[in-house]
Symmetry: C2
Subunit: 347 residues, 2 copies
């Protein structure tokens, strides 16, 4: 194998400024002058270089700058599903932000399957993309640390598990959001407030439950364990949890469901029990998905800035790809309470 061929192979098949120079029959410095639009190049040479650049499928500006650094202009986006508002909103924010930077997402749905995700990320690393955004990774903190150690730039959105400091993570203020939701119910006069939590062991689940308990504690209200049910973020979980809570001898007058899906399930359980919402039972969700606006009544919920989280992940990733220094690798975006029709004073 000749020496330049070897260098290309090591470069994982991506076109570099060196490839352009070789194919156009000019020096690397000349390609650089053309790509950076400097005047000291003859029109003929400029056109010859641009011809090769075009043939290599790159446009000018960011793409050309990327080319000069051996970039693909592609970012891997691994995400459990592309269905449902939670995922769609993150995806929408990320793809729009990528579009603005003349980059594209290579979409890799993982279905929460660990092996599938690992295989996808490995493939993304092999030179097919410049970096990755990993939404709700199923990989362990150790595996993600290994990935970071290999120098492949990536940003995690909403880590289910606590991750080492050096791994970039974009998330939302779960604790503050849950605390605000619970305080809202307390201010309305509720004292028996049930909660249906999310998947056990997840950061979001623990922070939301802690926020709920912190608000109760601050108000001097006993956090009764019988008022806590656990779910898995799906409609049937909210339904089952609420049925159990409403069957208690001293049932709650309000239920905080830790996402909007589960709040829809709580609404169903209330309807089945003949309870009016919010007259007999108040309900608060979490996420502010489209669902929250179409239920009757519309849901009081905690808004997560999901599109903004997708955008922020792109912004952080593109700085990492460019080799810029990033002051902090942890970004928590603020949640906020949105009061609609599903909450009122207790009966």
């Amino acid at each position: 194998m000749s020496e330049p061929a070897q260098r290309e192979a090591v470069n994982h098949g991506r076109a570099t400024i060196r490839d352009v120079a070789r194919r156009a029959g000019v020096s690397v410095a000349t390609v650089s002058r053309v790509v950076n639009d400097r005047p000291d190049v003859s029109p003929e040479t400029r056109e010859a270089v641009l011809e090769v650049v075009r043939a290599l499928s790159f446009s000018t500006n960011r793409s050309a700058r990327a080319l000069s650094k051996g970039r693909t202009g592609l970012v891997g986006l691994t995400i459990p599903f592309v269905l449902g508002d939670y995922y769609s909103l993150i995806l929408s924010g990320a793809t729009e932000a990528l579009h603005e930077q003349e980059m594209r997402a290579v979409l890799c749905p993982t279905r929460h399957e660990h092996d599938r995700e690992a295989a996808l990320v490995e493939r993304l690393m092999r030179g097919t993309t410049d970096g990755a955004i990993i939404v709700l990774p199923s990989e362990s903190p150790g595996e993600l640390s290994d990935l970071a150690a290999q120098g492949f730039p990536f940003v995690v959105v909403d880590a289910p598990m606590p991750l080492p400091e050096r791994i970039p993570v974009v998330s939302a203020t779960h604790w503050a959001g849950a605390r605000a939701a619970t305080e809202h119910l307390l201010q309305l006069g509720h004292r028996r407030i049930g909660i249906v939590t999310g998947r056990e062991g997840w950061v979001a689940t623990e922070e939301r439950r802690d926020g709920y308990q912190a608000a109760l504690a601050a108000a001097g209200v006993l956090a009764s364990p019988e008022l806590v049910r656990s779910g898995n973020f799906e409609i049937p979980d909210g339904h089952a949890g609420a049925r159990e809570l409403l069957a208690l001898d001293d049932p709650p007058t309000a239920i905080f469901a830790c996402n909007d899906n589960m709040a829809v399930g709580v609404l169903r359980a209330a309807a089945e029990a003949g309870l009016r919402v919010p007259g007999d039972l108040s309900i608060v969700g979490f996420d502010d998905s489209e669902l929250a606006r179409v239920t009757t009544p519309a849901l009081t919920t905690v808004r997560q800035p999901l599109e903004e989280m997708g955008r922020m992940a792109v912004s952080l990733l593109s700085r990492l790809i460019d080799g810029q220094r990033v002051e902090t690798l942890r970004v928590e975006l603020a949640t906020r309470l949105v009061v609609r029709g599903s909450t009122a004073p207790p009966p």
Copy 2:
């Protein structure tokens, strides 16, 4: 420029079996034998070739076969938005089908902006992808014909406009679905049936309106123009259309909204008018999105097989990319009526 370098440039920078041969220092025939797992290659040569194949970011099987034909393993997916069930379901079906074929989608959201879509498709054609799936194109039939004439393989999902025969299109049976929805209302005893149609000029809009009118005609019911309102597939359109219909001197006892978003708007207008659904007013939607299951009552609607449409587009596209003969380039997948709680006999 040397002759092999020129050939590579013409090949738009994608790695071909020729590149692998050159880099591994073997013949093209040898690479072919290794890639197709034939026995007549020494272990050393096999390993050397596989080393280069790996360095070029390709795995074996489909990817290796693709490599031997100069493929990228990437498919462009232009889609107006990634938000909302309609788009998410098509996207979900397509990305899963691509995953099964060891291909990936490069996601290009267009926001219905014609210039943006044209630029994206042009970029996809320049060798960065093997083909494209174009969901609800904003390009004209003429522009799509030009694209087809250039030999770039693509499949359209849900063409808003009628397209020439030779352009592959996957869609759903809008006419039959709308006819079934209207027949269901007629069978319940409704005779004053309003409709809120979709965007003017779109194939789906015209076929659904025609299906509604065909059902009325078959039942000998006069299709009164005052019962037809037009919308744009969003919640406020259904709301506005229903308000106008309910304000008529002789208001309808049932409304067929041409998608579920607009049916949610009709539900709101009914609630504001103090009408019970389905006791005072029956409502039918179209799509069977997640929304249809979370409203109170849940919506009777026409199910579009959206995930299956995404899968079918991938299946058709991959045959086109492989150069297989395709018997028909038009696929219409069946819709079906799903009866839930929003329809009943008229009061």
